[in-house]
Structure formats: C-alpha cells, structure tokens
C-alpha cells in the first residue's frame, strides 16, 4: 500500500531528528513544585560540578513524574548502572551525586527512590540492592539490614559486584522490611533478618527467586496521560518526537478520514476529564455535525479546583501531548483554529505551551497545509484571570471573547453556538492528553482498562493529611483506599482517616466506610460526589467537616459571578448559616433551612457552579450529621473548644 503524503512527510520529519544516545545523563524535575523546592539552583550546581570534576553527563530539564512529596527530584543514568531516581535533593547532595555516584560509581544512601516496576524475573545480573524498612512503628531496621546484607555479600565474595543502598522511598508501605534488586526490579517484602542471607545466596549468587518472600502485587498505577512526564524535556520538540509525539496525529491525518478518528475515540470509551464526563467522541461528532463555515476547538486549562494540580503538571511535563490531542480534535471536527485557555497563575505552563506551539509551527505541524495534507490549523494561547467560573464552558467562551466571564443559559450548547457564534468543542487538558495514546495504541487497549462505563485511566492529585501527597494515575475502577494506602502510603502520622473529598468545590465527601468503592463516574455520583477534575483531599479524624464544608462553600460564594439569584443570594445565606452553626449558635431549624437552600440552588441556578456548590455541604450533612449536631447541642463552649483543638491540630479529646 502506498504511504499517504502526511505519513511520509512525518517520517521525513522524524528522520531529521538527531538520534542521540547519551551514556550518562542527569534529569532534573523542573515543574513549579520542583522549582519551588529548589530545582533551578540544582541545575547550576550540577553544571558546575560536572565541569569541575570533568564528568561527562548531559543535563536535561523535565516535568514532574508525580512524586510531589519528594521534590526536587533528580534522575540520573551513569555508565554501569540502570537509571536511578533521587528525591529530596539539595545542593550538597547534588555535589555528592556527581562525585560519588557519577564519578565513583557508588549510589548514595537514604535518597534513592525505588522504581515502581516490580518484576518476577531476575533477568540480567543485578548489581544494586535497595533496602528500606516500610513499617512505620518501632525501630527502623533499615541500617541493620544493610549491614547484614553487606556481611552476607562479603561472605560470598560478591561485595565488589553488588552494592547495598538504603532507599528513601519504596512505594510499598506497611510491608515490613523491603528489599529490591535492581535493575531487574524483583522485590521482597516482610523480610526478616534471617532471610537476608537467603536472598543473597539464592537470588544474587544463584539467580533464583525466593518465592516465599516475593512481592507479587503490581503497582496500582498505569501511566497513560503521565507517560512522558518526568522523562522528556517539555521545552524540546525533538525529545518529544523521539518519544513518539505526533505519530498518532500524523497517522490520523494520513487516513484522511475524520470520521474514522472520531470512531476510534468513541470506541475507546474516553469521557471528559474536566468534570461532567461527557463522552469525548460523541462531543466531537456533535460539533462536526453542525453546518458551519468555521469551527473552533478549545483546551480548557483553567484548572480551578483549589488544591488540584494535574492539568498544570501535564502542561508543564508534556505539553506536546496536549497540543497533539487538540490538533487531533480539530482535525476530527474540522476546526480551523484552536485556543489554549490557561490560568495566568500558571506562568510556567503558559511558557511551555507557547514554546510547544512555536516549535510545532516551525516544523510544519501547525499552520498552512500541515504535513502536506492541505489542512490548515492555528493555535493561540489565551490567559484566564483568576475566575473559577471561567472553567464553565459558556463563561470560558465569553472570557476568550474578551468579556466578563458570565455563563449563558444552555442550550444552545457550545457545540452548536460557541465562540463567536460558531460550533466549538471544549475539552479538558487530561482528556486531550489521552488522545495521542489512544491513536497510537488503539481504542481496544484503552478500552480494556477501567470499569463499567468509565474506561481508561484517571489522574488524581492526592493531598491533605496523606503521608505522601502526589499525582497518581490509576485505571478507572481502582478503589480510593488502594490509592491512599497502596500508592500514597496511608494517612499522615497514622491518625485514623475520616473521609476523602473528591471533585473540589463541586464534589462531596466519601466517608471512611465507602473508601472501598471502585472509582467510576457513576459510583461517585451515587455517593453524592463527582469525579471532578481529580482533586482528592484526605481528611483525618482531627478535621472538622463543618469547617471544610464552609471552606468550600465560601470558595463558591467568592467565585459566584452574581448573575443569578439562587447562587448569589442562596450561597451567601447558606454560608452565614454554616458559620453560625460553627460558632455554636445554630439550631436544628438552620439545618432544615440549609437543606431548602441547597435544593433551590441545585434546581434553579443558571450554571454548574451554583448547581454544584451545595454538594460539599449536602454530602457532609449526609454522612457527618452528628458533627453538625454536636455544634448545635454543644453551643458556644463546644465551638470554642473545637476551634482550639483544630488550631492546635489535635483531636477533640486531646484538647479538652
């Protein structure tokens, strides 16, 4: 079969990309979080140290791989070892890394982050043993285990070939002593001191698995959206191309059939990740089916949920995948122009998207006659200006048009009458970043992940009272407790968990007893919450649900655009009632009143903000009514004591 013009043009473009294979490299995670933790200073230190010591290593900038709690992160590859990830790197450690690891070939204790890949085959010769005590109680056995392992290695004369390194984080929690062999990734858990000798003898000397200790559980995470975050340079198109960027788009363009592209996305079962979960392929088709001379696509990067950072991390880590998704959407629906609507509070994301657009334009991936296909497409960045309501589709459109971001009644939906009156398709960052993966790996592969009507993976930003706040990408259908206990290491300080808030100010709270619920759009909805964009806030016993509900409601009241009364007046009145209760001056009547206001807001508000603003309050009333009652019955003296306990971070019992 003759290759079509775009595919050939893309192949030529790929061939022109220099293929580089570096023997040694250093990748520094330079996203907003990493930079705040000092990653930019590390760059200078590494540069200087490499020059001083004469070490030849390529410095690369990357986005975050998601482990926010270990910022700043540095991954490096030295000759003779597999890539190693270091966490919590500061300047003195950077100097040591160059001198001891790169120059001396010796990994540094206490800072290595274990890969999440867990294998059952020993494969090639392992030369690193990571060890870490993953139980949080009692004495830390890591150092003892390290010396025992060393002793055993010496006994077998293996001490020169294999090093034993104390790890910083294993990604496995409450499984006793964990030992991982690298590069193979074979992992042993609940290891006792007397087992160490066996591991050395059987696994390292004789290359056989110690079956009874083997940790068989794979990591719950699957990385689709975050596939390149942390491993490519987001400011370099060549690097993205080497990792397969734009290949799916070029193929779609080569097929010359937008309908086929839409079908592929529909078959994959991808649903919008911005909140409502509308099937993406269907949205594309609806927009395409409207007669028009001009259509628009918009990437919604106005991440409004305070405390969520998925979209920012994706844009900062892999902007090309989002751009590729947007281009595919545009091609599928026949749009001639696209916009990125990004929060102005994310300057680094804005910069990286602008660079990505400029680089793509320079190579002929944007502009006129893209890859010789005869199709034209242009993209522009527009900035949000700190209004949460501008995440709502009609408000977002008004904002791009240069007006106040007030929502309009729907219908007409943007897919019929959107930006400047033309059919417009708005998609979330994460939705678009999934598209290239689906195009290259096929709809079936994507569809095979997930549960029920929720297919594929979802990225969550897990924060709050969790031991390891981070970005997590899991297949739909994973339970909340798996995310919190298996990936994030459970609750901080082991205080019992009270609940998990999902969906930000439009979502609700899942109480502890529902944490075993598999996450799907439908399940969350049944429990009075929503998937939302993916914020996940963990709350422990010491947190007060009345306070948290008031916090979210206050956010919505502050952000209400004031266009319609149910939201403007209702929200304000409800907040007053909540504050009254939290001062200990409330009554049972107030709760009835709150219920009535909630109902009015849900049914009569014009846009999603007002309709969903009561959700946090309603769900806390549903599952934690006793806390409201405690305030009402306890009166002001209870409220004072509670406030004191909260401000000291103690439980009510301790504080009184």
């Amino acid at each position: 079969m003759p290759e079509s013009v775009p595919v050939k043009a893309f192949q030529e473009l790929l061939d022109a990309v220099p293929q580089v294979l570096f023997e040694q490299w250093i990748r520094i995670g330079m996203d907003t979080g990493g930079i705040a933790a000092g990653a930019d200073r590390l760059w200078d230190v590494f540069e200087k140290e490499c020059a001083v010591t004469g070490v030849e290593a390529v410095l690369q900038r990357t986005g975050t791989c998601g482990y926010a709690y270990l910022d700043p992160l540095v991954e490096l590859k030295s000759s003779g070892h597999a890539p190693v990830l270091y966490g919590c790197v500061d300047e003195p450690l950077a100097v040591r890394i160059v001198r001891e690891h790169l120059l001396g070939g010796r990994l540094i204790d206490d800072f290595v982050v274990a890969p999440r890949r867990r294998s059952k085959d020993l494969g090639e010769a392992d030369n690193i043993v990571l060890v870490k005590d993953s139980s949080c109680e009692g004495e830390d056995r890591t150092a003892t285990a390290q010396s025992l392992l060393l002793k055993a290695l010496r006994h077998h004369g293996l001490q020169d070939r294999v090093q034993v390194v104390r790890a910083l984080d294993m990604g496995i929690y409450k499984e006793g002593l964990v030992v991982q062999l690298l590069p193979s990734g074979v992992t042993y858990t609940n290891v006792l001191n007397r087992d160490l000798e066996r591991i050395v003898e059987q696994s390292i000397r004789d290359r056989a698995i110690v079956e009874d200790l083997l940790f068989n559980e794979p990591d719950p995470q699957t990385r689709i959206v975050l596939r390149n975050c942390g491993s490519i340079d987001p400011e370099c198109l060549d690097d993205a191309l080497r990792h397969g960027a734009y290949a799916g788009f070029a193929r779609a363009l080569g097929q010359g059939s937008p309908g086929q592209t839409i079908d592929c996305i529909r078959e994959s079962g991808l649903r919008g990740r911005g909140g409502a979960g509308f099937p993406t392929g269907t949205k594309w088709k609806l927009t395409r089916d409207v007669e028009a001379d001009l259509r628009y696509v918009i990437c919604n990067a106005d991440e409004g949920d305070p405390g969520a950072f998925m979209d920012r991390s994706i844009l900062e880590g892999d902007p090309h995948s989002v751009l590729e998704g947007l281009m595919t959407a545009a091609y599928a629906i026949g749009a001639g122009k696209g916009y990125f609507y990004i929060r102005a509070e994310y300057p680094l994301a804005v910069k990286r998207v602008e660079l990505a657009i400029a680089a793509a334009r320079k190579r002929g991936l944007l502009g006129k006659n893209i890859l010789g296909s005869g199709w034209d497409f242009e993209v522009e960045v527009r900035l949000g200006a700190g209004a949460f309501v501008c995440g709502e589709e009609t408000a977002l459109i008004a904002s791009i048009e240069g007006k106040r971001g007030s929502p309009h009644p729907r219908p007409p939906y943007p897919s019929v009458k959107g930006l400047w009156g033309k059919p417009t398709c708005i998609n979330n960052v994460e939705t678009l970043a999934s598209v290239p993966w689906i195009l290259t790996n096929g709809a079936k592969a994507y569809e095979s992940l997930g549960s029920g009507n929720s297919r594929g993976t979802k990225v969550f930003a897990v924060t709050g009272k969790v031991r390891n706040p981070q970005l997590v990408e899991v297949p739909m259908g994973t339970t909340v407790s798996d995310i919190i206990y298996k990936v994030c290491g459970g609750v901080q300080d082991d205080v019992p968990i009270k609940g998990v808030q999902t969906g930000g100010p439009s979502g609700g709270i899942l109480p502890e007893k529902h944490l075993e619920t598999p996450i799907t759009y439908e399940n969350l909805q049944k429990l009075g919450s929503i998937m939302g964009s993916g914020g996940m806030l963990v709350m422990d016993e010491n947190d007060c649900m009345v306070d948290v509900s008031a916090f979210y409601l206050k956010f919505c009241v502050d952000e209400s655009c004031g266009k319609c009364a149910p939201c403007r007046v209702g929200g304000y009145q409800m907040l007053q009632l909540l504050l009254k209760i939290s001062r200990g001056r409330g009554s049972e009547d107030d709760l009835v009143q709150i219920d009535r206001i909630c109902e009015a807001m849900q049914s009569a508000s014009l846009c999603g903000l007002g309709q969903t603003a009561p959700n946090p309050v309603l769900s806390s009333l549903r599952f934690f009514r006793d806390e409201y009652s405690a305030y009402i019955e306890g009166g002001t003296s209870y409220a004072r004591k509670r406030k004191k306990a909260l401000s000291e971070g103690k439980s009510m019992k301790e504080a009184v």
Partner: protein
C-alpha cells in the same frame, strides 16, 4: 457626547474603587513611559479578536498593575467605552488596580494548605502587619494576600515571599520572614 458621558460616569464608579485616585488626568499628562508601554501592548495585539483581556494582562505584566490612565488611554485608542474595560478589570481577581506593595507576602489558601493550617498563617500575618487579607500597609512596604493553590501541595502549607516559595511554613516562621525584610530595608536605606 454620549460616549463622553459614559466615560465620565464609569470614571465616577472607578473613583470609588481606586482609593488613591487623584483628579482625572488629561491624556497629555500621562507618563510618556507608561504611554509608550501601553501603545506597544496595543500594537502587539492589534486586530485580534477578543484581545482586551490579553492587553490588560500585558500591561499588568510589565507595570505590576493596571493604572487608571492606562485604561482611559485604552478606551480611547480602542474606541470602546471605559465601562467595558472597567467591567472586565473588576470581574477578574487577577487584575490589580492599584500599585502592589514593595514586598508581597502571599499565603496559599488552596485546600491542601487550608487543611494543614494556612488560616493560622493568615491570622499571624494580619496580626503582625495590622492589615487584612488583600491589603497593603500604610507605608506601602508590605502587601499580603491569600491565593489558591500555587502548585506545591506536597509542601503544604506554602507561602510566597517576593517570588520565593517557602514550604511547610510554621506560624512561628512568619515573624522572622517579616523581620528579615525589615532589616534588609533598613540596611539598604
């Protein structure tokens, strides 16, 4: 005539919001530097649809806030009523209408930071500086405000002091931060 009245009227509302507004400055007395800057911003975005917000962003980026003269100038140059510019400026929290303080103390009040006690940081700052959230001290030395997630939830609660981010801030750190800036200022003076 109608347009002129409209500008005057909106300017009246404007006055009430800008505490430091002096009399309506005629266009000729506008700071030439500011004028040149605004003109450049205008040029850059000329002819593009829906460009008003982006022009305001440019102005704020370069000037730190959007001064009244700049908006008046924009209204005239773009041929749109002042009310429209004013409407946009006041709707979006991001735009500042008055000059920020010399040193900016920003407390993240996103959910992660809130849960880890950013409220206590805010109260402490308010107490030490004797101003409220979003205000500037009388000597225009300090400006404090709370913002939504600044992207370091892993290090909650977080604060930004003059563009430098601090994580895991304790209430007891706040006094030192302010004191350090004060000492720096004194030694500079």
């Amino acid at each position: 005539m109608y347009k002129l009245r409209k500008i005057r009227f909106s300017y009246l509302i404007w006055e009430t919001f800008c505490m430091n507004a002096s009399a309506l400055a005629p266009m000729e007395t506008m700071d030439p530097e500011l004028r040149g800057m605004v003109e450049r911003c205008l040029q850059e975005w000329e002819g593009r649809e829906g460009n008003l917000i982006m022009i305001l962003h440019e102005i704020q980026n370069r000037h730190g806030f959007v001064p009244r003269e700049a908006s008046l100038f924009l209204a005239e140059a773009m041929g749109i009523p002042m009310a429209r510019i004013y409407e946009v400026l006041t709707f979006y929290h991001y735009f500042k209408l008055i000059a920020p303080g010399k040193h900016n103390l920003t407390v993240c009040n996103g959910t992660a930071c809130y849960l880890k006690g950013s409220g206590r940081l805010l109260t402490e700052l308010e107490r030490r500086l004797s101003i409220k959230d979003g205000e500037t001290t009388e000597d225009r030395m300090f400006h404090m405000e709370s913002v939504r997630c600044i992207g370091c939830c892993g290090m909650a609660p977080a604060m930004v002091v003059d563009q430098k981010t601090f994580g895991k801030v304790a209430v007891t750190d706040v006094a030192g931060m302010i004191e350090r800036i004060r000492l720096q200022e004194e030694s500079d003076a």
